[in-house]
Symmetry: C3
Subunit: 400 residues, 3 copies
Amino acid sequence: MKKHISTILLAIFFVLSAIAHYAGFPPVLQFIFSAIAVILVAGFLGRATESVAHYAGQRLGGFLNATFGNAAELIIAIMLLREGLYDMVKASLTGSIIGNLLLVLGLSIFAGGVKHKVQNFNVALANMNGSLMIVAVIALFVPALFLNTHSITHPQANTLSLIVAGILILAYIAWLIFSMVTHKNYLGDVKTVSVGGDVHGAVAVDNAERPAVAASTASASGMDATMTGAPPSSVHANVAETHEEEEPAWTKGRSILYLLIATVMTAFVSEWLVGTLETFTSSFGFSELFVGAFVVAIIGNAAEHSAAILLAMKNKIGASVEIAVGSSLQIALFVAPVLVFVSFFLGNTMDIVFTTLELVAIMVSVFIAKSIIQDGSTNWYEGLLLIVVYIILGVSFYMV
Amino acid sequence: MKKHISTILLAIFFVLSAIAHYAGFPPVLQFIFSAIAVILVAGFLGRATESVAHYAGQRLGGFLNATFGNAAELIIAIMLLREGLYDMVKASLTGSIIGNLLLVLGLSIFAGGVKHKVQNFNVALANMNGSLMIVAVIALFVPALFLNTHSITHPQANTLSLIVAGILILAYIAWLIFSMVTHKNYLGDVKTVSVGGDVHGAVAVDNAERPAVAASTASASGMDATMTGAPPSSVHANVAETHEEEEPAWTKGRSILYLLIATVMTAFVSEWLVGTLETFTSSFGFSELFVGAFVVAIIGNAAEHSAAILLAMKNKIGASVEIAVGSSLQIALFVAPVLVFVSFFLGNTMDIVFTTLELVAIMVSVFIAKSIIQDGSTNWYEGLLLIVVYIILGVSFYMV
Amino acid sequence: MKKHISTILLAIFFVLSAIAHYAGFPPVLQFIFSAIAVILVAGFLGRATESVAHYAGQRLGGFLNATFGNAAELIIAIMLLREGLYDMVKASLTGSIIGNLLLVLGLSIFAGGVKHKVQNFNVALANMNGSLMIVAVIALFVPALFLNTHSITHPQANTLSLIVAGILILAYIAWLIFSMVTHKNYLGDVKTVSVGGDVHGAVAVDNAERPAVAASTASASGMDATMTGAPPSSVHANVAETHEEEEPAWTKGRSILYLLIATVMTAFVSEWLVGTLETFTSSFGFSELFVGAFVVAIIGNAAEHSAAILLAMKNKIGASVEIAVGSSLQIALFVAPVLVFVSFFLGNTMDIVFTTLELVAIMVSVFIAKSIIQDGSTNWYEGLLLIVVYIILGVSFYMV
C-alpha cells in the first residue's frame, strides 16, 4: 500500500515538474516541484539499487548505487557547464563530496549506531578508501596552490588540470581493477556476528585471506578461532539467513529495468531543477557558493541518503560506507576529471582549481571521515561528529 | 612525614600569597608566591583526585582530575575576560591545549615508558579521542579561516562563534552520554598483563564486548583466548591485586572533601596569580602570547602534570591519557565555548577566532598526539617526541 | 656474466667522468657521463649493501643502505653549500625526501605487490615511522611559518634553525638508541607466512613481545595461535629456508670492503655531477627548483631505488620500507640539521626555512606515505597511488 502511494506521488510530481518547466510556471513553483520530484525519483533510484544490490552483494550494490546516484550529479554538472556556470559546478562538486562524507555517512552511521551498538566493516577497504581520499585532496590542492602562489599562470593551470584529470581517471580505473578483480576478496563483505546479544566482531564472508580485517575485529571472547575458522557451510548458512530476512519485492531483471528508468527520470528532473537555480539564488539572497555546495548537493544526493541510511539500519554498514565514501571518491577521482575534459571539448577548459573555502571544506571532511572509518568500526557518536562538522560548515558557508 | 611537610608548605605559601595580594607586596614577589602556591595546591588537587579515582576507576578518575584541573583554567580565564584581556585568554586556552597534549602527555608517556617497556590502553577510546581532537581543530579553524579570508565580517564571526560554541557544548554533553552511559564498557579500562616478565597485551577488565581493543592488543603468544576468556573471578582477582597494592590514605568521603577544598583554594590562588601577570610580562620582556601560552598554561596545568605522571609510572597509562587528552578536549569543546557565552553575557562577545600561530600550534599538537596514541600503545620514545614538539613550539613562541 | 658486464661498465664510466671533469669536456657531456656513473655506482652500492644486509638482518641492512645512500646526498649538499647554492640545497633535500617517500617506496610496493598479493611488515615500526614523519614536518614547518608571518626576523630564524637542528639531531640519536637497543625486538623483522598459497599474516621472527604486530596481522584462519606459538625451531627453520634461497656472492668481509669503496666512488662522481648542474639548468630551461627536487634527487637516490625494489620483489618489503622511509627520516632529522651546522661553521648559516611549495610537497608526501604504511600491509595499488602523487608533484614543479 505504502509503495503504491509513493509510486503515485512520484508520477504526479514528475509530471508536475515537466508541465511547470515546459509551460513556464513561476520559477519558485518550478523549483519546488522539481526539487520534490528529484527527491522522489532519488528514493525510487534508491529502492531500485537496493534491490539490485540484494542480488549483487553489498559492495557491488553500493558501487552501483553510488555510480547511478552520481549519474544525476554528472548530468546536472554538464548542464551547468553548458551554461558557463563554472563556479556553480565546482561549488556543486564540493557539496557532493562533503555531503557524502559528512551528511550521508554521518546520518547512516548515526541511524545504524542507534539500532546496533557497534557496527563493523572491512578494515582493509577502509584503509584503501582513506588513502584514496588523501590522494584526491592532494590532486585538488596542489594545482590550486601552485596557481594561487603565482608559481604558474592560468593557461599553465589549465594544462596542469587536464594532465591531473587524466591521471586521476587512470588511477580510478586502476582502482576498479584492484577492487573488483585482483583483490576482490581482500576487500570483500564482512558480516558482523552477534553472540549473546553483544557484537563480538566480524567474520569474513568470502575468504580467509584478510589479515587486516581479522586483526581489527578479532573478538575478545576467544571465540574468533571458531568463527573465522568456521567451515564454509556455516558461514554460508549465516549469509543465507540474511537473505531470507529480506524478501525482495522485484526480480533481478525488473530491478535492473527500474534502475535504468530511475536514472533517465533523474536526468530530466535534474535539468528542470538547474533551470530554476538562478532565480532561487537571487530570490532568497543566498550566495552561489551556498546554493551549489549545500542546496543542490543535498537535493542531488537524496538517492544516496535514503539507500545508505536504510542499509545501515539493516546492519549492512559496509554498503552504507561504500555508498557514501565510494560516491565521494568517484566525484573527486572520476566525475570532476571528466568534467574538465568535457569543458575542454566544449571549447573553454574548466580548471581543477577550487576556491580556498571549497578546498578547506573538502580537506576537513576527508580528515574527519578518514579518522572515523579507519578502524573499521562505527557507533552513533561518530555519526554525530560527522553531522556536527557538516553543520559547522553549513552555517559558515551560509554567512558568506 | 613527607605528606606532613607538603601540607605545611601548602598552608604557608597559601597564606603568603594571600598576604602578598591583599597587602600589596612588590609584584614580582606576589608572582613568585602565587606561582608556588598554585603549584602546591595543584599537587594537593592531584593527590585528592588520585584518591577519588581509586574508588571511581581509572577513566572516571581521570575525568574528574581533568575536570577539576580545568576548573582552575576556567576561573583564571573568566577573570581575564572581566579585565578584557581577550588575547591573553586565547593564548592561555592554546597553552592549555598544547600543554596537555604535548607536555603532560609526553612526560607521562616518557616516565611510564622508562619504567615499563610498552604500555597499552583502550584503542577504541584512543580512536574516539583522536576523532574528537580533529573535530575540535575543525571547529576552531573554520571560523578563523572564513574571517581571515574576509568571507565574513567581524559581527558575523561573533554570531558564528556563538553558534559553533553552542554546537560544541552539545557535542561534548553527547560525548559524556556516549562514554559514561551507552558505551561505557566499550571504552572501559584495560589492564596490561605481564606474562613471563614481558608485556603480552591488554585484557579488558570490564567486558568482552570490545572488538577493537582485543584486536589491537591480541597477544602474539596465542594466549589471548585464555586471557580474554578468563572467568570473571580471575579478572577480579587481578584487579583486586592492584587495589591491594595501593593502600589509600584517605577514605572516600574525605577524598571528595579534599577535592572540593583543593578546587576552592585553586580559585583563590589563580585570582592572585592573574593579578601579577601584566607586571610579569613587562618586567621580563616576554610577549603576551608566550606568557599566556606557556607560563600561565604550565603553572595552571601543574595538577594534571603531577597526577598523570605518577599514574603512568604506576602502569596506569590509561588514566594518564584520559587526564591529558581528556583535559585538552574539555578545554576545546567545553571551556572555550563556555567562555564565549560568558563574554556574550558580559556584554562584549569574544569570538572563537584564534591567531594563525595559535591555530597552527594546536593543529600540530593534535596531529602528533593523535599519531602517537592511535595504536593504543606507548613507549618512552613517543613521549620524547611529544616533548620535542613542545620545545620547538616553546622556543618559537619565545622569539615572537 | 651479467655481473662482469656491469662491473666493466662501472669502471668505464667512472673513468670517463673523471676524464671529462678534469679535462674540461663540454658540460652536457660531463653531465651525461657523471649521471650515468652516479647511477652505476649507486647500483654497486646497492648490491654491496644488500650483501651486508644478508648478514646483518633486514632492518640493520636497510638502515645501512639508507645511511650510505645518504652519504652521497650529504656530500653533494656540502659541495653545493660551499658554492653558496643554498636554494639548490633545500630543493635537493626536498627532492630526496619526496623521492624516497613516493618514488622509491611506490615503485618497491608496486613491484612487490605485483609479485606477492599482499605484503606485511612490522606495524609497530610503521607507526613509529609515521610519528617521526610528522615530527619532521612540524620541525620544518614551524620556523617557516613564524618567519613568513613576520612573527620573527631573519636573524631570529637563523638562531631558531640552529636550535631546531640541534634538537632534531638529538632526537634522531635517541631514535637509534630506541630502535637498535632498548626496543630492538619490538620493532624486529616480521616474516610473512604463506599458507595454502595465500598470504595468511605475519609471524614475529624474533620475539613474542609485540602486541601491535600480532594484532594487526592475526590470521583470519584461526591458525595464528599455532604460528605465533610455534617453537623456536620451526621459526628458525623458516628463516633458514630464506637464507638458503639467497646464495650470497661475497663474503662478509668483502661486502663491507665493497660498501666502503662504493661510498668513496659516490663521493667523487657526485662532485663531478654537481659541477655540471648550472649549465644543465640553463641549457634545458628548467627551474632550479625542478632540477634540485627531481633531477638531482632521482639520480642521487638511484642506490635506494635498486636495492629497495629488488628486496620488495624478494618479499622483503620490511627492508624496502626501512630503506625508503628510513632514508627520508634521516634526511629530515639528521642530514638537514647537520647541513645547518656545517653552513654555520662555514660562516653563513643556512636557515631551515623551506619555500611554501617545498613544504607542501613534503607534507603531502608524508600524509600519503603515512596513510599507506600505517596498517603494516601493502599491495600494488598503494604503490601506484604513491607514484601518482609523485607524478602530480613532478608535473607541477616542472611548470614553475
